[in-house]
């Protein structure tokens, strides 16, 4: 699984991109975010308020129930502010 982080989420986590093997307890977006939060203080801080977190799997917006598979590109970022 390829994980991408953008904007202040990237700054708080401290990396823009990482390649991770899908752990057994991760099967959807919700469980992925729960697991990520346990990976360190930067992750916990970045993901503490889910109202400010958006997730895209393979470049489409998804909700918490969306399934995650090995090989997916998962991007985690704040609400967008372009235009």
């Amino acid at each position: 699984m390829r994980l991408l982080y953008f904007a202040w989420l990237r700054a708080k986590i401290g990396t823009a991109e990482e390649e991770l093997k899908l752990p057994p307890q991760v099967h959807d977006v919700k469980s992925l975010l729960q697991w990520l939060k346990s990976r360190g203080p930067g992750y916990a801080e970045a993901l503490k308020d889910m109202q400010t977190v958006r997730v895209a799997v393979n470049q489409d917006y998804v909700g918490p129930e969306h399934a995650i598979r090995d090989g997916d590109e998962v991007a985690i970022f704040p609400p967008v502010t372009g235009g």
Binding site: A7, F77, T81, G82, G83
Partner: protein, 153 residues
């Protein structure tokens, strides 16, 4: 057409190209977004736009396709810049051409409203107090939501 680029664009030339060789269009509508400095207690010396290469192009193409489904457009264009930009610089150009002005104007507003809530761009502002990430505005969500309830024109 979609373009995501760092460099500036020539508005006149872009609008010219949009309807070149097309005598069917009766009107072109356009919106240009600029970097603004609010002044006083809200000084901004520059803006840096980050984006998600790949998803940005995909979302912009989807938004453009949706506009073309809803309105009879002869042509449409979205150019969005990324990187560091200073006050007064152009950020985005949205333009639509249609036989009738209602469709061109409505589609142009639709494109900029949806782009603001769906295209993966993030702004960081340089201020005298340091850098800060721009927060999402509730008004932008409301503006995009309006189009989800409205059908056609």
């Amino acid at each position: 057409m979609i373009r995501v680029q760092h460099h500036d664009f020539d508005v006149g030339a872009e609008l010219e190209t949009l309807t070149a060789g097309n005598t069917r269009s009766g009107g072109v509508a356009s919106f240009i977004g600029l970097v603004r400095d609010m002044g006083a207690d809200n000084r901004i010396t520059a803006l840096t736009l980050e984006h998600y290469p790949g998803m940005t192009e995909k979302k912009l193409a989807e938004i453009e396709a949706e506009a073309n489904r809803r309105w009879p457009l002869d042509a449409s264009l979205i150019i969005h810049r990324y990187g560091r930009l200073e006050p007064g610089e152009r950020i985005v150009l949205v333009a639509t051409a249609s036989p009738h002005r209602e469709a061109a104007l409505a589609a142009c507003q639709f494109l900029i409203d949806w782009l603001k809530t769906d295209a993966p761009f993030w702004k960081s502002e340089e201020t005298p107090q340091g850098e800060r990430w721009v927060e999402k505005r509730a008004e932008d969500d409301a503006a995009a939501q309006r189009w989800k309830a409205t059908k056609w024109w």
